[in-house]
């Protein structure tokens, strides 16, 4: 387990000192995080790293997970898609399944935090247990153009929280509660992001039988339609007309995502057994994901919608050139032509990949700029600082807070 001092060589002593100052101000507060899955997906990944560090800093913190059956997670997956703007045809029964599971969790879960920090819509109804404590709702998804029915349903709960947190300015709208902008983060010391030996990288490519005889384009993401894996293959086919290369499309599925297998089948069909397209259904193995990113020539993230897109920061941290869709939180990480290239279509993505594969010096410069941008803005230490500032803001409504 990493200690807070382990981050000093990466971000500097000053940043860690700031965290200690903040933690001191929160010594008397108890923080309770609640989400819907302990494994898989960005939220669980961040909490796994963040909770121990908050504890080490002296902020009493616990992380609880709600319970739900497959029906509940089918509905919350529909909610997830609907919040991204897709018409999911939700029925009254769907909403009842959601509320019923909510009621069961309200009965079973002990709420003990001075600050209760609810992640995403799944546990949102726990606000019914509000007493005189403070409640935060953290939205990790892109809600820039949500299905109005689902938004209206959730809104009635959201308005009862003290504050909400979104990952990008475009997700905000006028709300009667305070709302803060906090980007998620990557942990530079995690297995997924630490520097690997060349031997480990080579071994991973060997294990998955991906020869490194030509440039490798990689997208790492769950097999989820919103990540547009079929669009990734279409993009690759356009690139391959001009540049002989390989495509690695690698990911797993989260335990709260029932759609994964279906999407995987669609992807395999689109790939049509092209031996240069490597579709890898990975177990949860962060070292291998790290190695695949580190050994690739271009990292692609062709999402149609994106809560934030942490795979971008992961790739940039490895100083890799990135081509990514101009959606959600991605433009916060990729400044077009400076820390990567943004695209809006299959054609645009293919054009950008060709540019990077043909101009290696340019690609290298973008990757280096990207790494510094991530160091300053998207590492776990910045995320910890922002969360502690939000905790303090719950007790200080003013714009300039003197502590």
């Amino acid at each position: 387990m990493m200690k807070i001092k382990d981050y000093i060589p990466i971000v500097g002593k000053f940043i860690v000192d700031d965290l200690r100052i903040l933690a001191e101000k929160l010594k008397s507060k108890k923080i309770q995080h609640v989400n819907s899955t302990a494994v898989g997906g960005g939220v669980a990944e961040i909490l796994n790293r963040m909770v121990p560090l908050l504890k080490e800093l002296g902020v009493e913190t616990r992380w609880d997970v709600i319970k739900g059956g497959s029906k509940f997670f089918d509905v919350t997956k529909k909610f997830h898609n609907a919040l991204h703007g897709k018409d999911e045809g939700l029925t009254a029964d769907d909403f009842e399944v959601f509320l019923e599971t909510g009621r069961r969790n309200e009965q079973e879960m002990d709420i003990w935090g001075d600050i209760v920090f609810i992640h995403d819509p799944q546990p949102i109804t726990l606000i019914n247990k509000r007493t005189d404590n403070k409640w935060l709702w953290r939205c990790h998804v892109d809600v820039s153009s949500p299905d109005p029915t689902v938004w209206k349903f959730l809104q009635d709960f959201i308005f009862r929280y003290d504050s909400a947190i979104f990952s990008a300015p475009s997700f905000s709208r006028q709300l009667p509660i305070r709302q803060f902008l906090i980007a998620p983060s990557i942990d530079p010391l995690s297995d997924k992001n630490k520097e690997l030996s060349q031997e480990t990288v080579d071994a991973t490519f060997r294990k998955y039988e991906v020869p490194r005889d030509k440039p490798i384009i990689t997208q790492i993401s769950r097999f989820d339609r919103l990540k547009d894996p079929v669009g990734v293959i279409k993009t690759y086919k356009q690139v391959k007309k001009h540049i002989d290369s390989r495509l690695v499309l690698a990911g797993g599925t989260a335990s709260d995502d029932p759609e994964g297998q279906q999407v995987l089948d669609e992807v395999r069909e689109e790939a049509q057994k092209d031996p240069d397209i490597h579709i890898l259904l990975l177990p949860q193995n962060d070292i291998e994901i790290n190695a695949l990113q580190a050994g690739s020539d271009v990292i692609l993230q062709k999402s149609l919608k994106e809560g934030f897109g942490l795979t971008i920061s992961e790739a940039l941290w490895k100083a890799k050139p990135v081509v990514a869709s101009n959606v959600g939180g991605i433009p916060l990480q990729v400044k077009h032509g400076y820390s990567g290239l943004l695209c809006n279509s299959v054609e645009g993505a293919a054009y950008s990949i060709k540019q990077l594969l043909s101009n290696t010096a340019y690609a290298k410069k973008l990757g280096e700029n990207g790494k510094e941008h991530v160091r300053n803005n998207f590492l776990l230490t910045r995320h910890l600082r922002d969360y502690m500032l939000v905790f303090l803001s719950l007790y200080h409504p003013e714009d300039i807070v003197c502590l």
Binding site: S170, D399, V401
Partner: protein, 223 residues
């Protein structure tokens, strides 16, 4: 000047951390931008004119403000973008004065180019207004004379320098940076204080600014 002259009051270094608060307000053309600019919280004007200083601290100086960037890159109004980017923030001692200047630059441009008012940003590229919430904390660093001041200035975070130079002057409305005020009133070295006041802090990266202020004070100490 004798560097060991004890100050009447010690200088206490503070630091500050910023949390961005979303306002939910957005503009998709110049007319809307102007309307919101006139009414929005001063903390939003401050955010959009100072955000780049910290978020892109490793870059070259002269960071653009968000208004200039959006007007140029999204609306394609290059002439107005240049006008907004060249507003000399250091000339203003209050946010309100800075707001008036930005507003009048846009109004003047719209008068000369009425068609520009309704040119619309693509969906997803609207201007979203964000406020900076500042949390100000005392640090353990204090100085009782200029030598100590230089020593501590080498040790404090760039956020501390940022606070005393930018935030204290403009956001807390003190009209001058804290360093100049202390060196002038407590140490009595008005010449060094004036030199620091005359610096354009927006023309430096924060680390370069630290080195420049240290150099100015050390140079005076040698004399």
């Amino acid at each position: 000047m004798n560097a060991q002259i004890k100050a009447k009051e010690p200088f206490k270094f503070y630091t500050r951390m910023i949390l961005p608060e979303l306002t939910g307000l957005k503009a998709d053309n110049l007319e809307q931008l102007l309307k919101i600019l006139k009414e929005v919280s001063p903390s939003a004007i401050y955010h959009h004119t100072h955000r780049f200083l910290q978020q892109h601290q490793h870059l070259a100086p002269e960071p653009p403000n968000d208004f200039a960037y959006w007007v140029t890159e999204v609306l394609g109004e290059y002439r107005l973008g240049e006008k907004l980017a060249s507003i000399d923030t250091v000339e203003f001692s209050t946010i309100e004065a800075l707001r008036v200047n930005i507003v009048s630059a846009i109004e003047k441009y719209l008068k000369e180019n009425p068609a520009a008012g309704s040119r619309t940003a693509h969906r997803g590229e609207e201007f979203y207004f964000v406020k900076s919430i500042s949390f100000i904390f005392p640090t353990k660093h204090t100085a009782r004379d200029r030598d100590e001041f230089v020593d501590e200035l080498k040790k404090v975070t760039i956020s501390s320098i940022y606070f005393h130079v930018f935030e204290a002057r403009l956001r807390l409305g003190k009209g001058n940076n804290d360093f100049s005020f202390w060196i002038s009133t407590s140490v009595g070295d008005k010449a060094a204080a004036d030199k620091i006041s005359k610096l354009d802090p927006y023309a430096y990266t924060l680390e370069d600014l630290r080195m420049k202020i240290i150099a100015l004070i050390t140079e005076r100490t040698k004399k």
